[in-house]
Structure formats: structure tokens, C-alpha cells
């Protein structure tokens, strides 16, 4: 069974603070993704990675950075958190190229920025 784990599962941050969301996968997948989910918008891609050391901008990268230090780990970094970044964030992994193939999602990280 594919396994993607996220931490923390819940986080409350203050405006202007730094937030790091972490993701670990044990699937040995090359590709990893960070999405945010908001009512009315579905899942929107923030950053993704094709492997250790690589990061790519998704559709809504502004205000976010990403880091892929190893095959297993992919982090999303909010250097200066804002209330508009309050959302549920999902990490996913997958092995297919070209936007095909199954994605395996974590259980989500709920972020509230006050």
C-alpha cells in the first residue's frame, strides 16, 4: 500500500511567521506534488518535483517555496505566512511522467494563519 505522510496535520501560525509543511513518501516515486484545497477551487498545484534536488513551479507558486532534499522528502515553505494562505494542503507522490498515472495523496495539513 502506497504511503504518504504529512506533518504537521494541523498548524496555527501568525501573519508574517515562517511555516514549513513536511511530506514523506515510502513509495520510491520520482514525482512529488504540493496542492492546496479550497472550497470552490478544488485542488490547485503549488509546486512539484521530478526527483531529489529538483523543484518546479505549479499554477499558484507565489508566496511558497519548495525543497526536495531526498527521494522521500518534499517540503513546502511559507517564508512570510499571510491569512490568504489559510487552507488545507495535500502532498502527493506518483511515478508516471506526463501527468498520467495514479497519484497517492497524504491525509492533508490544515493551516490557519491568524
Amino acid at each position: 500500500e502506497a504511503a504518504v505522510t504529512q506533518s504537521p496535520r494541523n498548524k496555527v501560525a501568525v501573519t508574517g511567521g515562517k511555516v514549513t509543511l513536511s511530506c514523506n513518501q515510502t513509495n520510491n516515486h520520482n514525482n512529488m506534488y504540493w496542492y492546496r484545497q479550497d472550497t470552490g477551487h478544488g485542488l490547485r498545484l503549488i509546486h512539484y518535483s521530478y526527483g531529489a534536488g529538483s523543484t518546479e513551479k505549479g499554477d499558484i507558486p507565489d508566496g511558497y517555496k519548495a525543497s526536495r532534499p531526498s527521494q522521500e522528502n518534499f517540503s513546502l515553505i511559507l517564508e512570510l505566512a499571510t491569512p490568504s494562505q489559510t487552507s488545507v494542503y495535500f502532498c502527493a507522490s506518483g511515478d508516471a511522467t506526463g501527468g498520467t498515472g495514479q497519484l497517492y495523496f497524504g491525509e492533508g495539513s490544515k493551516l490557519t494563519v491568524l
Binding site: 504518504v4 514525482n31 506534488y33 496542492y35 470552490g40 477551487h41 478544488g42 485542488l43 490547485r44 498545484l45 512539484y48 521530478y50 518546479e56 505549479g58 495535500f90 502527493a92 511522467t97 506526463g98 501527468g99 498520467t100 498515472g101 495514479q102 497519484l103 495523496f105 497524504g106 491525509e107 492533508g108
Partner: protein, 113 residues
């Protein structure tokens, strides 16, 4: 511009009825169309997927009907059960999608016993 659109936003059906969820897409180069199912408090999980070379895909009580010419597809959930109550996301990828899926906004399905 939203690449994938879903309708309705919310759908309520009685137990035993067939629920029909609709999806349309913009880019004719997309050739892979998965549907993901999400229960409250969980991450989405792949339910069923179709490639553009096919016009129909069945898996248990779930069927995708695909119309390449019209650039739309639908998910039919036959004999809906309360356990099917969830949010369903249509997505599109492949072709010129540059290695990622584009998701729709989702349809929330409620099945009343």
C-alpha cells in the same frame, strides 16, 4: 483559465439511484482522465480513470463515458449507496500537461438512505 470544469457543484440522490457527475476540459491535447474520490478528513484517492482512446470505462458500479469530440466526460454511479457520499474530482493530464494533472473544483455527492 480553468482547464477542467465540473458540474453540478453539489448533487443529492436517493439510495439506489444513478448519480451522474459531469466534467469538461479545455485542452484537446489531454489524453488521461482520472476521477478521484475524497471522504471528509482524508486525501483524495483514485477511483477510476480513462484514456482518450476509449469512450467507456467500467469498474464495479462506476462508469466513465467519454466524448473526445465534445471534450467532456461523465461519471455514472449506479445503484448509489450512502457510503458513496463523498466529493468527486475530475482531472485531466497527459499530452501537453507537462507532467501534472489539472483538477476540477469537485462535485459533492450526498446519497440519502
Amino acid at each position: 483559465q480553468q482547464q477542467v470544469r465540473q458540474s453540478p457543484q453539489s448533487l443529492t440522490v436517493w439510495e439506489g439511484e444513478t448519480a451522474i457527475l459531469n466534467c469538461s476540459y479545455e485542452n484537446s491535447a489531454f489524453d488521461y482522465f482520472p476521477w478521484y474520490q475524497q471522504f471528509p478528513g482524508e486525501g483524495p484517492a483514485l477511483l477510476i480513470a480513462i484514456r482518450s482512446v476509449s469512450d467507456k470505462k467500467e469498474d464495479g458500479g462506476f462508469t466513465i463515458f467519454f466524448n473526445k469530440r465534445e471534450k467532456n466526460l461523465s461519471l455514472h454511479i449506479k445503484d448509489s449507496q450512502p457510503g458513496d457520499s463523498a466529493t468527486y474530482f475530475c482531472a485531466a493530464g497527459g499530452g501537453s500537461a507537462l507532467g501534472r494533472l489539472h483538477f476540477g473544483a469537485g462535485t459533492q455527492l450526498i446519497v440519502i438512505p
